[in-house]
C-alpha cells in the first residue's frame, strides 16, 4: 500500500486543519479536497506579535536582545543575523576566533534542531494507529511513539548534552547574548576545547549507535541514490534505515513536491566563503542569489501597503485586522517574483552535495529528500564542528569593538536550520528606523502573491491523498512536517 493509492471519495469538501502540532508555533491549513486528493491549500499563520515594530526606535545594539526572542528554536540564528547586520552597520567583522565560535554556536542549534525535528516532530506520525498494519510498524512504535519511543528519549538526552556547547561557549540556550558583531563574549581556553570535544564525541556516539548505525563519515560520503537504496536494502540497523524502509513502503519520495526552486544564503562563514555555499538552484541550474531581487508581497497577508511588493529595506509591518482578503499574517517573499523553497535540502543542493542533487534530479523536493537532507547534513555538520573546536586559538582575540553609525543600513544574511534567514536594518539618528526580517518559513509557508501564485507548501500540498473520513489527513501532516516549519519566525 502506498498512501498515494488508497481509497478515494468523490464529493468535494473543505477541511480546516488545526491546531497543527509538532511544528514550532501556530499553524492552520485550509484544504479543498475532491476525488480523494487536495486540490488547493491555503496556509495560515494565526499568531502575530509584531517584533519588527517592537524593534523600531531602539538602540541598534538592543536588536541582539530583542531579535533572538522571535524564536526559541532558532534564537542563535536570529542572533547571528542581527550581529551580521550590526557588523555591516559598524563596518567591522568578527575576529577569527569569533567567527569560528559563532559557527559552532549556530551549528549546535542547527544539529539539535534536525534531531528534534526527526525524533520528536516528524517520526511520531509513523507510530500512529493508522499504520498499525504495516510490517515496520512495531519497530516504529517502539522507537518513535510520541513521549515514549526509545529513540526519541535517547535523542532528547543527546540533544541536552549537545547544548553543553552553548552552555560552555555562550552561557545558555536559547537566547544567548554571546554573539556580537565583532565576535563572541567568551573565550575558550585549552580546557574548554577538551570539554567541547568530549561533548561532541558523546553526541557522535549516540548518532552512530542509534540513528545511523555507522560512522558519521560513511553517511556524509553517500554520493548517489543507488548507494542510499543499498543502505535501505542491507545497510546497518538504525533509525535511518527504518526511515528509508518506511519511506519506500509509503512512497514518501512521491509526496510533497513543490517548485524545485531552492535558495540558500550560505552557512558558516569561512576564510574562503561559507562552509555550505550560498546560491540558488532553479529549473535544474545553479546560480547566485542577488539580494536586490528579494521582495515581499502583501496581497494575501493581513498587512497594509498591498499596492506593490517591497524590498525589505523599504518594507513595512502594519497589521490590518479588518482585512478580509488576507488569510494569514505571513507576507509572501519572492526572488525576482518567484517563490523559493529553503532549508537543509536547498542548502545541500546549492552546495552541490551529490546524493541530494541526485535525489532532486530523480524526484524533486519531496518529503523523502527533505528528511534525507537533514540527516545527511547532521552528519556533515557534526564532523565539521569537531574541526572547528580544534581551530580555536585561546591566545588570539575573541571580540572586536565597533561603533554604530548614527545613520546607515545593512543586511545580515545567514541560514537557520530551516533555511534562509535575513535581517534588514536601517538606522536614523542613532535609532532603529526600520527592521525587516524574512525567515525561512516565511519563504516556505508563504501565501499567494498578487499573481495568485501559491507559496511552496501550498503548492506541495496539491495532490496529497485524503482518505475517506479523514479530518486531519495524515499525508498532509507528513508534507507539512517535512518542511520543519517554524511558525513563530514566519510572521515574527
Amino acid at each position: 500500500m502506498s498512501i498515494l493509492e488508497t481509497g478515494a471519495e468523490s464529493a468535494p469538501r473543505r477541511l480546516i486543519v488545526g491546531p497543527f502540532n509538532r511544528v514550532e508555533g501556530d499553524l492552520e491549513v485550509r484544504l479543498e479536497v475532491a476525488d480523494g486528493a487536495v486540490t488547493a491549500a491555503y496556509v495560515s499563520s494565526p499568531l502575530f506579535r509584531g517584533f519588527e515594530r517592537i524593534l523600531e526606535g531602539r538602540d541598534p545594539r538592543d536588536a541582539l536582545i530583542i531579535a533572538p526572542r522571535i524564536c526559541g528554536i532558532c534564537s542563535v540564528s536570529q542572533s547571528q543575523a542581527a550581529a551580521l547586520a550590526l557588523a555591516g552597520l559598524q563596518g567591522i567583522g568578527p575576529t577569527e576566533n569569533g567567527r569560528i565560535a559563532t559557527n559552532l554556536l549556530v551549528a549546535t542549534e542547527n544539529v539539535a534542531d534536525h534531531l528534534t525535528h526527526f525524533h520528536l516532530f516528524f517520526m511520531p506520525d509513523f507510530a500512529r494507529a493508522a499504520y498499525s498494519g504495516r510490517p515496520w510498524f512495531p519497530a516504529a512504535e517502539a522507537r518513535f511513539k510520541a513521549g515514549r519511543g526509545t529513540s526519541a528519549r535517547r535523542m532528547v538526552e543527546a540533544r541536552a548534552t549537545l547544548f553543553h556547547v552553548l552552555g560552555l561557549l555562550a552561557g545558555r540556550w536559547p537566547h544567548t547574548l554571546a554573539i556580537q558583531p565583532g565576535g563572541v563574549t567568551r573565550r575558550a581556553d585549552r580546557r574548554d576545547q577538551m570539554r567541547l570535544l568530549a561533548t561532541l564525541r558523546a553526541v557522535r556516539g549516540v548518532l552512530e549507535a542509534q540513528l545511523f548505525g555507522a560512522p558519521l563519515e560513511q553517511v556524509a560520503e553517500l554520493s548517489d541514490p543507488a548507494e542510499l537504496e543499498a543502505w535501505r536494502a542491507n545497510g546497518p540497523e538504525g533509525d535511518f534505515r527504518l526511515f528509508l524502509e518506511i519511506a519506500a513502503d509509503l512512497g514518501l519520495d512521491r509526496m510533497g513536491r513543490a517548485y524545485d526552486r531552492f535558495l540558500s544564503h550560505g552557512a558558516y562563514p569561512g576564510e574562503e566563503g561559507p562552509f555550505y555555499a550560498a546560491g540558488l538552484m532553479a529549473e535544474g541550474e545553479r546560480g547566485a542569489v542577488d539580494p536586490a531581487g528579494i521582495t515581499e508581497d502583501h496581497t494575501f497577508a493581513r498587512m497594509e501597503e498591498r499596492g506593490h511588493p517591497h524590498h525589505p529595506f523599504a518594507g513595512s509591518t502594519l497589521p490590518d485586522a479588518a482585512d478580509e482578503t488576507g488569510y494569514t499574517w505571513c507576507k509572501a517573499p519572492r526572488l525576482f517574483g518567484r517563490p523559493f523553497e529553503t532549508g537543509a535540502l536547498a542548502r545541500q543542493v546549492v552546495d552541490g552535495q551529490p546524493l541530494l542533487t541526485g535525489l532532486v534530479a530523480q524526484g524533486g523536493g519531496s518529503v523523502y529528500s527533505r528528511v534525507v537532507a537533514r540527516l545527511l547534513e547532521t552528519a556533515r555538520t557534526l564532523i565539521a564542528m569537531e574541526a572547528w573546536v580544534r581551530a580555536l586559538d585561546p591566545d588570539a582575540p575573541w571580540c572586536a569593538e565597533g561603533l554604530n553609525p548614527s545613520n546607515g543600513q545593512a543586511a545580515g544574511l545567514t541560514e537557520a536550520a530551516r533555511g534562509a534567514l535575513g535581517h534588514w536594518v536601517s538606522v536614523e539618528r542613532g535609532r532603529i528606523a526600520r527592521y525587516q526580517i524574512i525567515a525561512p518559513t516565511t519563504w516556505n509557508f508563504s501565501p499567494r502573491d498578487a499573481q495568485g501564485i501559491p507559496g511552496p507548501l501550498e503548492a506541495a500540498l496539491v495532490g496529497a491523498r485524503v482518505k475517506p473520513g479523514e479530518k486531519t489527513p495524515i499525508s498532509v501532516q507528513h508534507i507539512v512536517r517535512s518542511f520543519d516549519p517554524c511558525m513563530v519566525c514566519t510572521v515574527h
Partner: protein, 345 residues
Amino acid sequence: MSGLATFSGTPDSPFTVLWLQSGGCGGCTMSLLCAEGPDVMTTLEGAGISLLWHPSLSEETGDEALDIFARIQAGEIVLDALCVEGALLRGPNGTGRFHMLAGTGRATIEWVRELAGLARYVVAVGTCAAYGGVTAAGLNPTDACGLQYDGRREGGALGAGFRSREGLPVINVAGCPTHPNWVTETLMLLAAGLVSPQDLDAYRRPRFYADHLVHHGCTRNEYYEYKASAEKLSDLGCMMEHLGCLGTQAHADCNTRPWNGEGSCTRGGYSCINCTAPEFEEPGHPFLETPKIAGIPIGLPTDMPKAWFIALSSLAKAATPERLKRNAVSDHPVVPPTVRDIKRR
C-alpha cells in the same frame, strides 16, 4: 505541611497538565527539553505527571487535539494544571484576533480564560505568560499582557481577583526563557500539594528560585568586591559598573544552578538583564549599558544603602589588587593568582 507528601499523580490517576502556547517564542518548551539528570520525560513520569496535550510534543493534531479540549470542557477529564507559555494578546481592539487558536476560529485568550476556570492550578511558564515580556515591549503592537499581570500591575488576561480552583493565584515561573528545572520542580511541587501562597514571592514567582540573586555564585564576585570592572564585552571583570549587569538585583539562581551544563549569562561573558522580572524588556536605556548619574550607577544592589555603596566602592577601588585590575579588562587571565609558600603564610 510537614514532611514530603506523596505525589498525587499515580499511573492510574496522573497529575494532568494541559500546555498552551500563545504570544511567545516557544523557547520555554525548548529550554524544558534541555532538562538533565534526569531528562524531562523521566522527571515528569517519575512524579506521576502526564501531559494531556502539548503543542510540540503530543501525537494528537487537529480534531484529535480539539477532542481533548472538549473532554476537559465537559468535565470528563480533570485538569490539574493549565500551563500557558507566551503572552496573551488582547489586540486588535480587544478582539484577541492577533492569536486565534488554529482550527477553532476562537481567540486563544478566550480559550485560556475558559480553561483557567476549570484548572486546579494555573502556571505561567516564562516572563511573557507571567507579565507580558518581550512581546509587550515597545509600542506593544498586539496589546500583549501576562496571565495575571500587565507588566508590574496586577490584572492581565485573567484579572487581579482570579484564583484557580485550589484557591491560588497564577504561579509565575518567570524567566526568558525559564530554566528547565524551575518548571519541572514547580510542577512536581504542585503534584505533591506543596505550594501555598507563602511559597510565592511578591511577583508570585516560586521562592525556591526567586529568593536567590543571580549575583550569588557569579564567577566575577571577586572583581565585584574590588570594583574591578569590565570595560567591554569579553572582558573578565564585573559587568555592573559599565555593562548594565543587573545580577545584584535579579531574582534567580542562575549562577548556583547553571544552565546547559555549566553555563549562565555572566559566565557566558554578558550581563544579566534580569529576565525574571516584570518589564525587564524596557530598561529605559540600552540593555548592556549602565545608566549613571555623576559616574555612579543608578540601579544599586538590592538591600544596599546608596551612601554605603559609594563609600565601599571608592575604598574597594583604592585597594584593587594588580591582578584583578589587569584581568578585569582582558579576555583571558593575564596575571595568575600568586602561589604562596604555605609554610610562610
